[in-house]
Symmetry: C2
Subunit: 314 residues, 2 copies
DNA sequence: TATCCTTACGGAATTCGTAAGCATG
DNA sequence: CATGCTTACGAATTCCGTAAGGATA
């Protein structure tokens, strides 16, 4: 048994059972991959893949049993490298953050600046995507840290830690009727065309819930993935916007006014997620603490240590 | 990086930093081991071992950080093999049980018989030792299951599951004054020379505690590792014995009489332990359930899954 | 001086890629 | 018939054991 065999199996599952693709990804020849897999199967004396003729189609039952163990070994090989790197250069390396637009645009900049000052030698990489894409990147090992308000708690492969709470606000162009000083109510809000986030983004679920609970059917004329797009069209007079309070800036958004809507929609929790079982380098722990001071290294380590599931034979 | 390198490092720590011994254990040459270690250190770019001149003396700080990860990888390689074996021959393999004398002699026989009938093709291996030796065998991976009343809960590397409760009894030769029918009391018991287990064996701690709490200093004339020895000398008239109730058999021990002492000494709990992080084959789970019906496969798996600690960089 | 690890070297085994073969959609 | 996996073969590399070197108790 050797690690290359394990990598071949793992990558074959990831790449949808195409050995040709696996060979490309692992920078080797396709017969090589074929042989690696066959040799591992021979040694373990089980077929890992089901074959339709000569093509691999899916995992066998034994294959499904051994795959999680293989994945864990490969993850630990990474962890081994990381642990060592933390000694060769504690402040040297890469940090890939996956975040939604809302986080990347409004919540992260301060932390990124501080972090760059602390660890100037760490190459920062910021990826933007939907909450599900953020989760996917973490699971695939393509990102070290994921930050989003939605979805992250729903994956068993991830550990999601609470960072901060925030509420929505309603934005309208200067001079809009809603800005007459009267208290903001859901019924009144629902009378205007509304611009807000797409489903699955930045607390949209809480907005829908609130309207549904009140028996209201708001007319959502534009839904976008980010507040900047929403603000643009609100400013053009297409309606009123519902966005995260974080996205409104008095100075920058001179043409708009904001009304707090914390009493209308449920509070949102932004979470930071990491892949279960990954070892975090010192600077990663440091970034996390910079972003959310309550998430000290020891808090994060405890969360990691508390529940790494181990598979047993069915 | 390859698995042989990891094995070399792991074994070097186990064998007290003697590469010569490691080479013998791994059936290879000593320069080979030296090279494996050096190559891993080169690749990780950290020194794993401290060297006094040319001899390895101990782990470096990075070495201590990477060692647990290396151990986990090697354990998972074993787990991988086991998972596969469970498919090639579900009822074929080896089962090594480490147990104390008390367990091997009185508690295990019934379970062993049942198990042999269920899995005639599994080679059973029963090792006997002190509770600490039992624990050591589990930690070293030399035994799959450990059973003892003492010590097993004290090791972070092990998971100890409760099997059954038992109490002590007092044994005396037929015709002994203690057998006059009067209720058994600690004070009266302490007047006779006592034969019981050695410290660290079969509930001896609970016996000492009881006497100490009562302010009594019993005269222990013989302490032994097992009840058979104790019974022999009690029968010869050297004093009264305090042994596990399980060790007394009315029919077999005709020269002796037993008085229940459940009210004098605290109840004992016999535990079954397994090494954290090990995958248990189907027949191992089956044996455990045979021995302690409350420990069903799902109970054991849950216990295994609940708390596998993951190290993070300090 | 004996023990133990490292370095050097040469042979053997392994590994890997190319090319051909063959089955499937 | 094109795609994709397997088999076959030869070359290159890697690996490993023996032998010599050097440091320490």
């Amino acid at each position: 048994m050797n690690l290359q065999q394990l990598r071949s199996v793992s990558e074959t599952v990831r790449r949808g059972f195409s050995l040709t693709k696996v060979a490309a990804v692992l920078h080797t020849s396709q017969p090589g991959i074929s042989r690696q897999i066959r040799e591992l199967e021979d040694e373990l004396n089980v077929e890992i893949f089901e074959r339709a003729g000569k093509r691999l189609t899916k995992l066998t039952e034994p294959g499904a049993a051994v795959l999680p163990i293989i994945e864990r070994i490969l993850l630990d090989v990474q962890n081994l490298r990381r642990a060592a790197q933390d000694f060769t250069g504690r402040d040297l390396g890469h940090l890939t953050i996956a975040a939604t637009h809302a986080q990347a645009r409004y919540a992260l900049p301060a932390a990124v600046l501080d972090f760059r000052a602390l660890y100037p030698q760490v190459t920062l990489n910021l990826h933007q995507g939907s909450p599900r894409q953020v989760a996917q990147m973490l699971i695939e090992g393509e990102a070290d840290i994921g930050i989003a308000t939605e979805a992250l708690s729903q994956y068993g492969e991830l550990i999601a830690l609470p960072c901060y709470r925030w509420t929505h606000c309603v934005i309208a162009p200067v001079g809009h009727a809603l800005l007459d000083g009267a208290p903001l109510q859901l019924e009144r809000l629902a009378r205007y065309p509304i611009l807000t986030y797409e489903p699955g983004f930045t607390g949209r679920a809480r907005i829908d819930e609130a309207f549904a609970r009140a028996g209201l059917k708001p007319q959502i004329v534009i839904s976008a993935m980010d507040a900047d797009v929403i603000k643009t069209y609100v400013e053009l007079g297409l309606g009123v916007g519902i966005v995260s309070t974080l996205a409104y800036d008095e100075v920058r958004d001179r043409g708009l006014r904001a009304l707090d809507a914390g009493h209308l929609f449920e509070v949102n929790m932004t979470r930071l997620a990491i892949r279960r079982g990954t070892l975090l380098r010192t600077y990663v722990l440091s970034f996390i603490e910079t972003f959310a001071p309550s998430l000290t290294p020891s808090v994060v380590k405890d969360a990691l240590a508390s529940d790494v599931a181990l598979e047993t034979v069915s």
